[in-house]
């Protein structure tokens, strides 16, 4: 039933129900959808795979790893501190790399910092990512070289304070578009992204030696938040939910959900297994949670692309909104 490959004479309303023939008649009152030869109305994003999904995932990983590392530093957990600092810097650096690579004119990437516009989530995000990258990078260099622990603590705390913003601004970035599957979910997506980021950042922490209890808690809480927010999203956004349930996006998101559940259960179980087997189980669960988080971002990206390519996602909710408003203005049977 998807539109782009289905050619109808433009402007001929077509019934969307099966078994009604070609639906050539004009007087079809219910469930009709018209488009210009099935062509998309909005332009699908030109953002590339894996650049943008990877940018979303790595931003989340880095954004949670930084505060985990900062608090691990304060509470004397050197293993968790080290892994967190490296993950924060690595995630931020790679994230910027993917962002620059995705630009049509990569040599102009510094134009992002020409202005600060609160109406542009990408501008705000650039101004979060730039200092975060510098601070977390400096912290990681100090960590690896084993120098200036006090400076590293200060820069790590600053990066940790910026981290949570890094995990959720990307949700605003995709929601602040005309892409139906993304825009309709603008209330829930920040929480999906926050949960996914916590699952991946906490999961990365499970790779550390020593006490990883805080990372385990963050990972499990993140998985629960992600699953809950995704379920609310799919129930609340109306017709656009179809984009999250069908096609490649639907398959990827189902896989991501399974990975998140299994990873969270593994992370939970690893807390009850002593010694090396427990650490191995935790590390495996952490890696699985990271794979699932990356898949979640890719699935959400694909759902948006699918909803942009098919004009029905744009037309149908707008048409319903319009008809409802008209019915309010002109009750029962009056002229348009």
């Amino acid at each position: 039933m998807s539109a782009p490959e289905h050619r109808t004479a433009a402007g001929t309303p077509r019934t969307r129900r099966r078994g009604k023939g070609r639906g050539e008649r004009l007087m079809v009152p219910e469930a009709e959808f018209t488009s210009y030869y099935g062509r998309p109305i909005i332009k699908p994003p030109v953002w590339k795979v894996p650049d943008v999904p990877a940018y979303l995932y790595l931003g989340g990983l880095a954004g949670v790893s930084a505060p985990l590392a900062a608090l691990a530093d304060l509470t004397g957990r050197p293993g968790l501190r080290r892994v967190g600092r490296v993950a924060a810097a690595g995630g931020a650096t790679l994230s910027v790399g993917f962002l620059v690579h995705d630009l049509g004119r990569p040599e102009r990437f510094l134009h992002m910092l020409r202005v600060l516009k609160v109406t542009s989530p990408l501008s705000v995000g650039s101004w979060i990512l730039a200092p975060f990258g510098a601070l977390s990078g400096a912290t990681a260099v100090a960590e690896v070289l084993g120098v200036t622990p006090r400076l590293a603590r200060a820069s790590g705390l600053a990066a940790g304070a910026l981290g949570p913003a890094l995990t959720t601004y990307t949700a605003v970035l995709v929601a602040d578009t005309a892409v139906p599957a993304w825009h309709e979910g603008f209330r829930e997506l920040p929480f999906v992204f926050a949960g996914s980021a916590m699952a991946s950042g906490g999961g990365a922490g499970l790779l550390a030696r020593g006490d990883v209890t805080p990372a385990r808690r963050v990972a499990v809480a993140g998985a629960v938040l992600e699953l809950a927010a995704t379920s609310v999203l799919e129930r609340r956004i109306g017709f656009a939910a179809k984009a999250y349930r069908s096609g490649r996006a639907g398959a990827v998101l189902t896989g991501a959900r399974v990975g998140t559940v299994v990873g969270a259960l593994g992370a939970l179980a690893s807390g009850f297994v002593r010694g090396r087997p427990g650490r191995v189980l935790g590390a495996a669960a952490g890696l699985l949670l990271n794979a699932a988080s990356a898949a979640t971002r890719y699935g959400i990206f694909e759902a948006g692309m699918a909803s942009a390519r098919d004009p029905e996602y744009t037309v149908r909710p707008q048409r319903e909104r319009l008809e409802a408003r008209r019915a309010e203005d002109h009750p029962a049977g009056s002229d348009r």
Partner: protein
């Protein structure tokens, strides 16, 4: 205020232009007199020195003439190198019983002729709708709002312009546009769209498309004046029994605060490939930031709480 959505009398003043800036200009495209000649498309390409793009860029397979294979449309839609696009819509509609013209000569029925509306209620006829689409130069332009570099600006004429020497090709404006106007030019990487011939406006000239249009389907002028002209034209068409005529993008109360380029259409907007009820995405941006802030605080709180309690 209404800087993000709602009616806004003077977007140029909102963008910071001093008093005495030129009046807001726009297009009124009256599709009821469009003949589908594509002079606007050609004039636009000529004046702006735009490369041919063909429909391939838009997803359809074109033949040697670049025709879509569905109609006389050979540009498919607006894009990075197509700032005017003429849509061709072929419709089978119920036949109208138009009054025959008496030529004062002996006549006879065609053998087997069906008198529409009389002999068969289900008789149909074909009608053509043609419409020259263009950037709407919205009062609240999502492309401009989301541009992170400040490449997209509001001009002194109230139009929306890409400064190509600033654009770094991030592509954010492209999915932000509720009309699917702006796009990235392949091989160039930057985003392009209608400039309303900014280089002609300063010299007191009308844009190339409006100048080339032979039927005055494309009318250019101060927006206030165009709105009056459109209202008069709509009333005239309604008087003449063309009840399906409607204005699209004229209303300053709509989801984008009214379009700088608006239309008179003869069918629902989606028939022409236009969104029926577009809303500027940044209308919801304050709420988006609030939700993101809430989620970020939840992350901070959860990470901090994870460190509570004794260590094992």
């Amino acid at each position: 205020m209404n800087s993000l959505s709602g009616p806004l009398a003077d977007p140029s003043a909102d963008a910071g232009y001093a008093d005495g800036h030129p009046p807001r200009v726009g297009f009124f495209t009256d599709t009821s007199v469009c003949i589908g000649c594509k002079a606007c498309e050609v004039a636009c390409k000529e004046w702006n020195a735009l490369p041919a793009d063909g429909v391939g860029d838009h997803g359809a397979a074109g033949d040697v003439l670049g025709l879509t294979g569905m109609s006389y449309d050979n540009s498919g839609g607006l894009g990075a190198s197509t700032y005017r696009h003429v849509a061709f819509v072929e419709q089978r509609v119920p036949a109208r019983d138009s009054a025959p013209v008496d030529l004062g000569m002996p006549a006879m029925e065609l053998p087997g002729a069906v008198q529409p509306g009389v002999d068969r209620d289900d008789a149909t006829e074909v009608r053509w709708l043609m419409s020259s689409d263009v950037c709407k130069h919205c009062t609240h332009a999502a492309c401009l709002d989301v541009c992170p570099t400040g490449s997209l600006i509001r001009t002194e004429h109230g139009t929306v312009l890409v400064q190509e020497d600033i654009c770094n090709g991030c592509g954010y404006c492209i999915p932000a546009c509720p009309y699917g106007v702006i796009d990235q030019r392949q091989g160039d990487g930057r985003a392009f769209k209608c400039t309303m011939c900014q280089d002609r406006l300063g010299a007191g000239l009308a844009p190339a498309c409006a100048t080339a249009c032979p039927t005055e389907s494309i009318q250019f002028g101060p927006l206030d004046e165009l709105r009056e002209r459109a209202d008069a034209r709509l009333a005239e068409l309604h008087d003449r029994g063309v009840g399906e005529a409607r204005l699209y993008g004229r209303d300053p109360d709509d989801g984008v605060g009214g379009d700088g380029a608006f239309f008179l259409l003869l069918d629902e907007p989606e028939v022409y490939g236009l969104p029926p009820d577009p809303v500027v995405t940044t209308r919801d941006l304050p709420s988006m930031w609030r939700h993101a802030a809430g989620a970020a605080l939840a992350v901070a709180g959860a990470v901090a709480a994870a460190f509570l309690g004794g260590r094992r």
